[in-house]
Amino acid sequence: MALMRLTSPHAHGPMSTQRVMQSVLLATIPGIIVLTHFFGFGTLVNILWGSIVALACEALALKLRRRPLGFYLKDYSALVTAVLLCIALPPYAPWWLIAVGIASSILLAKHLYGGLGYNPFNPAMVGYVILLISFPIQMTAWAPPRGLGELPGFMEALQACFTPSAYDAITMATPMDLLKQNNSLLIKDLWGQYPQFGRWSGRGWEWANIAFLAGGVWLLYQRIFTWHAPVAMLVTLGLLAAIFYDGGSSASGGSPLFHLLGGATMFGAFFIVTDPVSSAVSLRGRLIFGGLIGVLIYTIRIEGNYPDSVAFAVLIMNFAAPFIDYYTQPRTYGHRKKRAGE
């Protein structure tokens, strides 16, 4: 038997950007299917149109920056940004809304800072927040889930996107909004009064969250990212929700399950917080990074004025990521622990 004659370092082949991005795209599929099932074809149309705009913006930016077009377009990073942003946008959004969001993501948040790998902020979330601040009415218009309203077909969804004036989308307050605006009903009565609530959280929303959780677990299994940041975020969010649940009074912030399976929680935890570029790097740093995002999400959800808070929480913590990295540098083997600031 021949002995292995390899010498150290036993470095394994690094995963290419292209493959990472492809895996992320694949992992979003269950979530997209569930969203389409409950809210109709709006999300799919968003993604189709958003991807076209994203590739065009990426090509334009690369051309202006005199970078090789084919190499960077094929790394799928623009597509990932587009898909993530389009999932976050309300279905049946008008075409210009999507275009403005994608252009802000790709041109402002990514290429102005130097392209993939240099952006301090998550591009998809920058696009989302710019849209939310600029067009609050369109950005909070969510369609009613299946069972509460007529779901438009694919052609109608296209029409809603490209000729917004011809199509009157029916919108309904999201469960997050209802809970925030509620100050007189017990949680149990609130659940009974509004059909938007489901078993644990919002109708449709809970299944979308479970689907994104499944996609995220698959990514974890594929070792696209480590468990630290998403788990820390879910734990702090769940803990805070449990502490302030107070048994379901009218002032309650909602049950832990409501928060874990509501809004963009799972999508944020596994697809946004885990962005390798804009998050903290060390494992301990990722625990802190994710944990603080969970705290911010809960705080802004309860105290803030916006419907959901994942984007704001992530952007605020992106600011802090270099700072966290500075104080959580792992000890090099064989060296004593460096004191901070040394």
Partner: protein, 237 residues
């Protein structure tokens, strides 16, 4: 600095040394009030007036004030000029005065004005000082107006709204609506829009400068006629 050419002063103030986009002075009003053309023009013109008055008066008294107390003296002159302008605006353009609010008295603290007073007017005679104030002010006002125009256009889809606040009732219908059913892009009017658009204006200015420089370099380094042998020594691999 006895011989200051007016041409150099003009180029400096309007382009090469523009207070707003090259020296990056006075950013606070630049970012705060450029939500529309009329606000930007109002503040730009007020700043220009203050610059002219302060530059001229500082130049007049430059030989009377000792070095030790020159800065407090200049600041007092500037504050007096700002107060005059503020009262004038309160009298003639009351609504604009209210919109600009605290940013009118804050012209006193605008670095452009003290910078020009100490850096130029304190060393030059009255003619060039007056002209420098005028040109620097115009350079500042131009950038403000362009920025205001960009932000108003992208923020509301219209241009030159409410110009009557500055130019009287006849200007009330100067408003040009570019797109009838434009969704207001709030970001452009909010403070982040000011940062983004200022950055873009600076980028465009640098781009133009680069182009000009390249053209001049190309003119300078014409290829020398006739072949020249390159000297090669040592091993060539």
């Amino acid at each position: 600095m006895a011989d200051v050419s007016y041409k150099d002063l003009s180029i400096n103030g309007l382009w090469k040394n523009n207070p707003a986009i090259v020296q990056l002075l006075g950013l606070c009003p630049l970012l705060a009030v450029t939500g529309s053309v009329v606000n930007a023009l109002g503040l730009g013109l007020a700043t220009t007036m203050v610059l002219i008055i302060s530059n001229t008066s500082v130049s007049l008294i430059r030989n009377l004030v000792s070095d030790a107390v020159r800065l407090p003296t200049f600041v007092m002159i500037i504050a007096a000029a700002v107060t005059c302008i503020e009262l004038l605006m309160q009298a003639f353009t009351y609504e604009l005065f209210q919109i600009l609010g605290i940013f009118l008295p804050l012209i006193t603290t605008n670095c452009v004005i003290l910078g020009r007073a100490d850096g130029f007017a304190a060393r030059n005679s009255i003619g060039p000082s007056f002209y420098d104030g005028l040109i620097m002010g115009l350079g500042f006002a131009c950038v403000l107006a362009v920025l205001g125009g960009l932000r108003e256009l992208s923020g509301t889809g219209a241009l030159f709204a409410n110009m009557d606040l500055l130019f009287g009732a006849s200007a009330a219908n100067w408003k040009i609506v570019m797109y009838p059913d434009y969704q207001p892009f709030l970001l452009a009017i909010l403070p982040p829009g000011a940062f983004i658009f200022t950055g873009l204006i600076i980028a465009v200015k640098n781009l133009i400068d680069d182009r000009i420089k390249k053209r001049q370099d190309a003119l300078k380094t014409r290829p020398v006629k006739g072949a020249k042998r390159v000297r090669v020594t040592g091993a060539v691999s």
